[in-house]
Amino acid sequence: MPHPSSDPHLSFTRQFVAAQPALHGFLMSLAHDPHAADDLLQELAERMWRKFDEYDGNRPFVAWGIGYARLLAMEWRRKQQRLPLPLDDETLDRLASEAADDAPRHDERLDALRACLKGLTERQRAVLRMRYQESIPVAEIAIASNRTQMAVYKMLKHAHQALLICISETLASQTP
């Protein structure tokens, strides 16, 4: 069992912390809910730690974790009475495979996102903050700001759209 560090606890912790964003992103692509992805990530840490003595250190840690994350997300979906998105098994499998292909580039996307956030307007950042940092539902943001739900949703939509374009352009410019 070749671990980078002789202390398995330290080695696991170091690698899991580094892999967390990519694993969270993968879980998010199957759970479609950040809070559920958070919970699953905690469960995933526990499961991977239990199996860490089976980990082959020559294999990328993220790829190893995604195997468990996929099983965990599927188990979670089976237990839900109501899912944000009803998908058949075949579509879900395809989605999981395509999300797994994306995972290695997650860190680059995150770096791009951080840069792209600076290009948003103050108002866009503020509404994103309310939605994501404070976890305020769109309907409540609308009430608090005396706007329609549709107006708030459109602000979020345009911010998303701008970020996706910016991230895509940033990644394209980095590709040799």
Partner: protein, 326 residues
Amino acid sequence: MSEIDPIPAIDDLSLRILHDLADDDERAELARLLATSPDNRRRFLDHAALHGMLAREAKAGAMAENPHAFFGSLEKVSVRKTSRLSGFWLPAAAAVIVACIAILTFMPTNAMAALDRIIAAMNEARDRSYTIEVINAGPDSGASRSDRGRFPPANHLDGATLWLRGPGEFVLRQTLPNGETRIIGGDGTQSWSMKGDGPVRVSPDLNRFGRAIFDPNGEVAFLDLRTQLDQLRRLYQIEWLDRSSRETWKLRGLRRSHEQGGPREIELWFSPDNGLIQRMILNQLPRGNGGPVSIAIILRSTEPLAPDYFQHTSHHEPGRTLLAEP
């Protein structure tokens, strides 16, 4: 950034799902689109990934700190829209807007000041005893987890008693399923642990026996309330939940980042007069060591304890074997 194109249906549906705005027809339509086209799946995954990254980045504090950017524009819109209001209503409406902005500006500061007061109260060498109640044991919390040899089994906390005094001074007494009592503690200079009538293990590492729950930072989630409160101040978004009573106020902290350990949410009930914690709920604890998901720590007494209560010798008969760790 580039000019934004008209938004296609897949984008709209993806976002409506992710923001929990979609109705059943829209869910079904998105499921159909994802089943039929890899391009649609690609686009949906882009949105889902962005949604997840934004949630994580926002919790880590990467978003605009100034909500006035949003509400400030509201103020202008409101004045424009209310220009037909009477002379009485205009100042009233303005006062409401100013009050809203003031609350948004000052509320976190006051909550933080209240937290500082709680921390100051915790730093007083005052004896307190708390009962721990497991609110949510979590899945897979059976006894088999206790056989894994790591220290100590984090389950079986329900009904445990925690005594606290000054920094590093704590005693936690748990009753295990076999009826034995496990006691771990610290006297400020060393920590110690004993189970049943077995030997007393002693360590100069104050957290050695308190690492009840797996945590990447190796910190003790609930035995060391000072560390917990300090983390609450540094790593959590603090907000008021309730200040309607004279006896008890309530704060909530939401962890900003996943990169840090600790429970995801902490609720604190405390006395506004003296900052004494009356009740603390730790939700979504890290569970790598199989501990509970949520626990409550409830104040039972502030009666003074014996001066040597936090030394292990107060909890066993003389002559017990000591195993000193380096």
